[in-house]
Symmetry: C2
Subunit: 352 residues, 2 copies
DNA sequence: TCTGTGCTTGTTAGCGCTCACAATTTTACG
DNA sequence: CGTAAAATTGTGAGCGCTAACAAGCACAGA
């Protein structure tokens, strides 16, 4: 019934104020939940806002407050499960905290590409950047760059003094290894990921430490490149060793594979070699990809909580932006061991 | 040597103007490549911009031009290869065209979730939205919503009158099917994806059409859910049929699987059943995921050019935003057949 | 020399919002 | 009741930029 202002463009705060019979500032107060507004006024304004379909202009707001409330995400390889989930987690967390995120996906993390991505984001006035950079080279390139805003890494390790958050890969590997040792295996073999990846290195380290702590023999390392094929090839080598090691001291009865995809390849190679899992060789993975539960047999693995990884990275970033902390902090998220059929307990260790 | 203005905050256009001895408007002209600026002035201004490290304030620009140059992306299931690549393609294309993108990832494409995502994006004044919604239900929900800006769908089919762009799934399926028929197979079996997915339906349709056009028998349909496990199960059924159909008219010698992941499962089931690929049964997939080339054997499949899918969707969206077209258009991207070892030509069709 | 045309530059007024402050009303309490 | 304190509301300026217009200048042709 009230007369509407010009329909040709989106209503402004002043339009709302005029219709509600208050000042534009009062409208602003209502919108930002300022305490000193009477309930009656607040209700009236809210009603007019609804009625006009008013929506705050974020550009004007950003100009006046000098805050864009926008964050940038730089990620490499977002087509893989891990990075893709992490980016999704970051975006969700940022959205919950009232920030807009914009993601830039890089094919390769060269310094040039990283610099360009930063320029792009800086041009839009992002207040902070989350960099999902699991490779050592990428983190190094990132650290060398002078950023126009705070930068937080995810899965970037804590070798350099960039603040960041990562999963406790080391602990995850220990959990897996200890679980296998506790299940009655004399030692645990390991198929690692590529050397430049921080995740890969930490998992290898955790595995080795767990073995040493338990006084178990440390078998030679096999290496893959995260792909199922490389796991398959490693699996073939392992199958050969199983036969060779039969009846000897610490036989090959358990394998910790650095990710689930490679584990898939290992499982298949073992199966083709006539070895049963877990009866002959127990196999564990890392990541808990959605398919892992349906592997033959269902895979024991480490679950990574990407949502909380995202939440923590955003929390850390906002701490820096809003000046709650100056030091470069490093948060670590605890992983969770998921035990499935591929590592069922050995009832009676045979032939030892 | 020139005196720098207050360092405590980022330099503004006026700062640049003062140092360069021109008006702020001239600086603005240089920045927006306006033709009527003398070479000398342009050079001087450019140099000062460099020197001060000046960067245009996008919020102020957006406020003055009433253009945010921001686009939204709404996607479901971005942890899968297809959607993840598509989103990356969209983001890259938008960036090339000078737009900022912000992505919202949904777990499930309910109408509520879609509406919330739109509200979020609308709050930041996005000028358009790209929705990556491969499920029929999601497109329907989207069409029912009244959007605050132009919306373009990717892989949303052209059933409803939303403009969009999609891969020619039908053609892809035909290419695969015709390739198999041309290789000497009497007919081609099919493992389809879940029924609610538009991609799945179009692939099934293309397969069926190609068979009918060639006058080939249309075998019963098997169905999976995109996962390797479901492919494995379908593969087991297929293996059973192979034995049953030996020596009969149109035997089971070729299978078109609706995506590469399921094809992986099929390959394994066939292998376990003692059947060789491609000698006994040829297998083809769809998507060309990075692993497909390394499957045992390397998989014949359909490559989807996600980058051009992204580029086209952004092109279409900007056409709508900038008023170059009013009608809802639907673009279709042609797929590419990648022939690999899994469908090697049959030299002499045995036993027929 | 004068006028007209095109090129180059400067001036002014907002875009829609928030901040700091001022003005007004209400409430509290001696 | 009166007055101080608190709560509520309004006013003006300005965030950094672009659009529209105005002004200055050089150069051509009459």
């Amino acid at each position: 019934m009230t007369q509407l202002p010009d329909v040709s463009r989106a209503p402004t705060m002043t339009d709302v104020a005029r219709v509600a019979g208050v000042s534009h500032q009062t409208v602003s107060r209502v919108l930002s939940d300022h305490p000193n507004v009477s309930a009656k006024t607040r209700a009236a304004v809210t009603q007019v806002i609804e009625q006009l379909g008013y929506r705050r202009n974020s550009a004007a707001r950003a100009l006046a407050t000098r805050r864009t409330h926008t964050l940038g995400v730089i990620a490499v390889n977002t087509t893989l499960h891990g990075p893709a989930s992490t980016v999704a987690g970051v975006q969700e967390a940022a959205r919950d905290r009232g920030y807009l995120t914009s993601a830039v996906t890089l094919r390769t993390a060269t310094q040039t590409a990283l610099a360009e991505a930063m320029q792009h984001l800086a041009g839009w006035g992002v207040e902070g950047i989350v960099a999902v950079t699991p490779q050592r080279a990428a983190v190094r390139a990132l650290a060398a760059l002078e950023a126009p805003c705070p930068v937080v890494t995810v899965e970037g390790g804590h070798t350099l003094d960039l603040p960041g958050v990562s999963l406790d890969q080391n602990l995850g590997a220990r959990l897996i290894t200890e679980h296998l040792l506790a299940s009655g295996h004399a030692t645990v073999w390991h198929v690692a990921g590529p050397p430049d990846w921080l995740e890969s290195e930490a998992r290898t380290q955790g595995w080795e430490e767990a073995l040493r702590d338990a006084g178990a023999e440390v078998p030679p390392l096999l290496r893959g490149d995260w792909s199922p094929l490389s796991g398959y090839q490693a699996g073939q080598q392992l199958a050969g060793r199983v036969r060779a090691s039969r009846g000897q001291g610490a036989g090959l009865t358990a394998v910790f594979v650095a990710n689930d995809q490679m584990a898939l390849g290992v499982l298949r190679a073992l199966r083709e070699a006539g070895l049963r899992t877990p009866e002959d060789v127990a196999v564990a993975g890392f990541d808990d990809i959605p398919e892992a539960e349906f592997f033959p047999p269902p895979l024991t693995t480490i679950r990574q909580d990407f949502a909380s990884l995202g939440r923590d990275s955003i929390g850390l970033l906002l701490d820096h932006i809003e000046g709650r902390t100056d030091e470069s902090t490093h948060l670590v998220v605890a992983p969770e061991l998921i035990v499935r059929a591929s590592t069922a307990r050995r009832i009676a260790p045979p032939g030892e």
